[in-house]
């Protein structure tokens, strides 16, 4: 339990300070940090249901993408502002490190499988983002059409009522 609290706290500290390095400003800094905590919190929460890490990565990165898109619409800023910082806790740094360790110990078989594992994690990250961005685009289009249709309908009704 204590380690969970530390992980969540530190994912906030890490994401927040990294956002400073990316020159994120004002309240966006705070929102980026919260997004980082939320992404890692979700990762820990899903652990008992989804034992496969790449699959969890997929869902967490989808969540981050939704979070970034919604905030981007509200604050009128590119989604990238939140997408890049909030992804940070999910970046497979430990997997990459393990790959290097195995290479150092000349355990090439382990090294190769760790490298592939790192790659699969990054791929799931990217797939999560892509899935959400595509769906989001379609939803926005549909909403736009509904809005347009309603406006036309109202205009017609106005014409009919003298």
């Amino acid at each position: 339990m204590r380690s969970v609290v530390i992980q969540l706290l530190m994912s906030f500290v890490g994401t927040f300070s990294f956002s400073v390095l990316f020159n994120v400003r004002g309240k966006k800094l705070l929102l980026a940090g919260i997004g980082g905590v939320a992404s890692w919190g979700l990762f820990l929460l899903l652990e008992s249901w989804l034992p496969s890490a790449p699959l969890r990565y997929f869902w967490c990165s989808s969540f981050v993408a939704v979070y970034a898109e919604i905030l981007a619409r509200i604050l009128k800023t590119p989604a990238t502002t939140f997408l890049i910082p909030c992804m940070l806790p999910l970046i497979p740094g430990s997997a990459l490190y393990n790959t290097m360790r195995y290479a150092l110990d000349k355990q090439w078989r382990h090294c190769l499988s760790q490298a592939l594992y790192t790659l699969s994690l990054s791929l799931s990250l990217a797939l999560g983002i892509i899935a959400v961005l595509s769906v989001f685009g379609v939803v926005i289009q549909i909403l736009g059409r509904i809005w347009y249709y309603n406006r036309q309908k109202k205009a017609k009704e106005k014409e009919h009522t003298p």
Partner: protein, 253 residues
Amino acid sequence: MDFSRVLSCALDIGEQMLVSGAEIYRVEDCIRRICFAYGASHVDVFTITSSIVVTVQQPDGQRLTQTRRIESYKTNLDRVDLLNELSREICRRHMSYAEFLEKYQGILNKKPYPQWVETIGYAMAASGFTMFFGGTWRDGLVALVIGAVVKGVVWLVDAVNFNRVLSNLIAAFAMSILAILAGRCGLADKVDMLVMGSIMLVIPGAALTNSLRDMISGDTMAGLLRFSEACILALAIAAGYLLASACLGGAAV
């Protein structure tokens, strides 16, 4: 207004966005919109990580091409935000070239965080991720120092204009040496976590994710280029770490 000026102002915005970390799609879309807003009848944009090419058909039917070579990158999300805003404003209302230039220069001249804030950022990020990966609070304290030192190394390497591969190698080397020495002196408990947390500072994770994103959304060329760049940087980091542990006698701990 002269159309070649419109084109160069669109390219200026696109170039700066690409340098500051915007995705390929946004850069191309932005350039296209600005050109259309000033009355171009046809626009072709092609962007990869190191170059932008735009051909525009002017209202009178003449064609115009300009290219830009992109040399270096520096993630600056605030700048992406402001330039995006500026491009939207250009599309909404026609802006004179003088007015555009003034606003554009204003954005470029906007100061980033001062150096000491960035140093604290480096230190806190290294410390945060060290403890995030399971390091103890003592490791966190050592990571604070390592982060600050890495900032110094990065600043120095930037000042003498090293290429990115070499600068990543040097940064990874410096932080690994410090982490392993801290472990030897008994200052740090878990050297593994310390190295992991510090490495997060230079890991090209954002570039890797961005590249896969570019590839899947159709910009295969740019994505592949960015992907291989990220892989080379990751290899440089690994080389720096391996070099450091070899210098200190082979064993990592």
